[in-house]
Amino acid sequence: MAGSTSRVPVEKTYKIYIDGKFPRTESGRFFPLEDSDGEVIANICRGSRKDFRNSVVAARKAFPGWSSASAYLRGQIIYRIAEMLEGRREQFIAELHLQGLSKRRAKKEVDATIDRLIYYAGWSDKYQQVFSAVNPVSSSHFNFSVMEATGVVSVLAPNESSLLGLVSNIVPAIVGGNTCVVLASEEMPLCAVSFAEVLHAADVPGGVVNILTGYREELTGQFASHMDVNAIIYCDSDTDVAKEIEISAADNIKRVVNRTNTDWAQEKSQNPYLIKETQETKTTWHPIGS
């Protein structure tokens, strides 16, 4: 019995995240997200091909600035994401719980996500030293190889691990200077949208991470085939889908990163080789002489 003095809660509109802004999908479409009792939790944007294209444009535009930002700065920004997430911990636990996780599991997942951000924040100025080389060529040249970001990366975030899996795939890409366009878990999209708000509050430059919600079946082909995307990360274990992704990826020789069957909660699911998967090796030669 709500009395006349009881307060009506303000519910959040879940929107997508493109170029540092939170628009609704340009298509105007939505799909209802239901809880296990069939009650509607929220209306979710059903992102379109055009939303994806706009996101790629934003990601490409953000790439020169982000990839040339200092490793120290990228590390601090990723650390800042962790700080912001820690501050909104209760909200994320509640959202995961709302989407079917037990309170205990939800809490565990949020904590692990924060720790994962800290882990990669620390790698920002170290992976380069681990993976680079000075090469002892026989001729009179100074020759060295360094890591550089591959470019714009499509990320089909895992369906089942909607927050930890999402962050575990975004962060190794951006800590290495890539920009990305991400498709959130279709079944549990809430945390992805709220995580976009966290990114925004953490001063991640607009366009570095773009997050869409929508139907996998509709958008996977777009993520795989776009000619201005340099790499695609996917986690679906469906082999037919994987095959389709790899066929489309060949249109512009995309790097294909297959992360199926990964238990994101495990400690071994975080390592610098995940950063390396969206890095290019650049080798530079210069004569030694006078």
Binding site: S138, K243, K282, T283, W285
Partner: protein, 490 residues
């Protein structure tokens, strides 16, 4: 003939006497079979094709055309060798076999150089001083990695993959075979390799070396054939890894056909590298770099500097000096030690190059070729430059794979960079300037895998090679080249 004393005119007054490399110490068999399981055996369907000398159009030998059944036989031999001796052998012993290959190649270097020039048309100076020594060096370098792999990948345990299927091009026949085979063996894999259709001979000679080195049968299998043979290797279900060097067009087909198979792959594909000359460069050195960038190996180089971007204020000077230098280039007999530019590798490739010369002119560019004489028989193309081209011209966008240079100008560093990166390729690039800060500004921002600053077209076994964007996936050479032949476990 030029009488202007300011011009380079090495051949004015003094003529180069012919200096042919002798061929009498080289034997090429009448016919070559397939090298499978440590022995040469005839192809199942009994078919052979000819390989010719592109400088004379004369037949050199016939080589076997491997069909699907032959590919299967080679893969089975490789699998057996992998399961049997090779993956169980101590890594240090494996390394010693690879060292042996390097040593025998060094011993037989001159023979290989001559065969390489006969079969492929490249100048003997290049096969003698670059291709063959580098191929031996590759085996020597990777041999030493065999028992040290765990030091290459911190925190990981490396494992071999199994059978590697390798398909290589005709521009550096033996060197590409070495790039593929050496790291594959060092990492504990066995190999099925197919050399290019027009240049099979040094790979077949390498098979002899592998016999001589007494490698266990089946560790390296070398089978000849054309595109269908390559496709059969790529599509064979018992191959664990594919390594391909060739065109982006074929690379795309391979990437598609590997979709969903879980096979690991590396692709070294096409390029359209910008060679960027700033006004403050040492101009004479830069001109040498341009010549080396585009005319090295008849321009049959995926990382060739096929686009010249020259800063506007020195464009006239650079182009004048380039034309003068082009006049001194000797085009002709690949076996002559004075030859700078040899024969185009095949009639088919010459057709491709000629079609681009027409396209360039039709699109409005101005073509200039050196005035040198070329032999009547064989496949030849004079060194060629195009000026007055725009970014959208096909000769600027597409890989020609011949001695054809498209020249554009730029004013600011940013404009040069934008033009350099305006391509779907990203294999290599060149920068010429005397300013250190400018070098790093450029080398950091050119989106390509190999950047030469104040030099061009240098290669070394320790130096990773491979492209960004549509120039390929993965690296070959150096520590980074090991990754392609290993599975890393945590």
């Amino acid at each position: 003939m030029s009488t202007d004393p300011s011009k380079l005119a090495f051949n004015a007054g003094w003529q180069y006497a012919p200096a042919p490399e002798s061929t009498d110490h080289v034997t090429i068999d009448e016919q070559y079979d397939l090298f499978i399981g440590g022995e040469f055996s005839p192809p199942g369907e009994g078919r052979y094709f000819e390989t010719i000398n592109p400088a004379t159009e004369e037949r050199l030998s016939s080589v076997a055309l491997a069909g699907e059944a032959d590919v299967d036989r080679a893969v089975k031999a490789a699998r057996k060798a992998y399961a049997g001796p090779w993956s169980k052998m101590k890594a240090a012993e494996r390394g010693k076999y690879i060292f042996r290959i390097a040593r025998i190649l060094q011993e037989r270097a001159r023979e290989f150089s001559v065969v390489e020039s006969l079969d492929g048309g490249k100048p003997i100076r290049e096969s003698r001083d670059i291709d063959i020594p580098l191929a031996a060096a590759h085996f020597f370098y990777y041999a030493g990695w065999a028992d040290k792999l765990e030091y290459a990948f911190p925190g990981r345990r490396p494992h071999s993959l199994g059978v590697a299927g390798q398909v290589i091009p005709w521009n550096f026949p033996l060197l590409m075979a070495a790039w593929k085979i050496a790291p594959a063996l060092a990492c504990g894999n066995t190999v099925v390799l197919k050399p290019a259709e027009t240049t099979p001979l040094t790979a077949l000679k390498l098979a002899e070396v592998i016999q001589e080195a007494d490698l266990p049968p089946g560790v390296v299998n070398i089978i000849t054939g054309a595109g269908d043979t390559g496709a059969a290797i790529v599509n064979h279900p018992d191959v664990d890894k594919i390594a391909f060097t060739g065109s982006t067009e074929v690379g795309r087909i391979i990437q598609r056909s590997l979709a969903g198979t879980g096979k690991k792959y590396t692709l070294e594909l096409g390029g359209k590298a910008a060679n960027i000359i700033f006004a403050d460069a040492a101009i004479d050195q830069a001109v040498e770099g341009i010549v080396n960038g585009i005319f090295f190996n008849q321009g049959h180089v995926c990382c060739a500097g096929s686009r010249l971007l020259v800063q506007e204020s020195v464009a006239d000077e650079v182009i004048t000096k380039l034309k003068d230098r082009m006049e001194t280039l000797i085009v002709g007999d690949p076996l002559d030690k004075n030859t700078d530019i040899g024969a185009i590798n095949s009639a088919e490739q010459l057709d491709t190059i000629r079609s681009y010369l027409s396209i360039g002119r039709e699109e409005g560019a101005e073509m200039y070729q050196s005035s040198c004489e070329v032999p009547d028989t064989g496949y030849w193309c004079r060194p060629t430059i195009f000026t007055g081209v725009s970014q959208s011209n096909r000769i600027v966008q597409e890989e020609i794979f011949g001695p054809v240079l498209a020249i554009q100008t730029f004013r600011t560093l940013e404009e040069g960079l934008t033009k350099a990166n305006n391509t779907p390729y990203g294999l290599s690039g060149g920068v010429w300037t005397d300013k250190g800060a400018k070098i790093f500004k450029m080398t950091q921002n050119i989106r390509a895998g190999v950047i030469w600053a104040n030099t061009f077209n240098k290669f070394d076994p320790t130096s990773p090679f491979g492209g960004y964007k549509e120039s390929g996936v993965g690296r070959e050479g150096g520590l980074h080249g090991l990754d392609a032949y290993l599975r890393l476990e945590s």
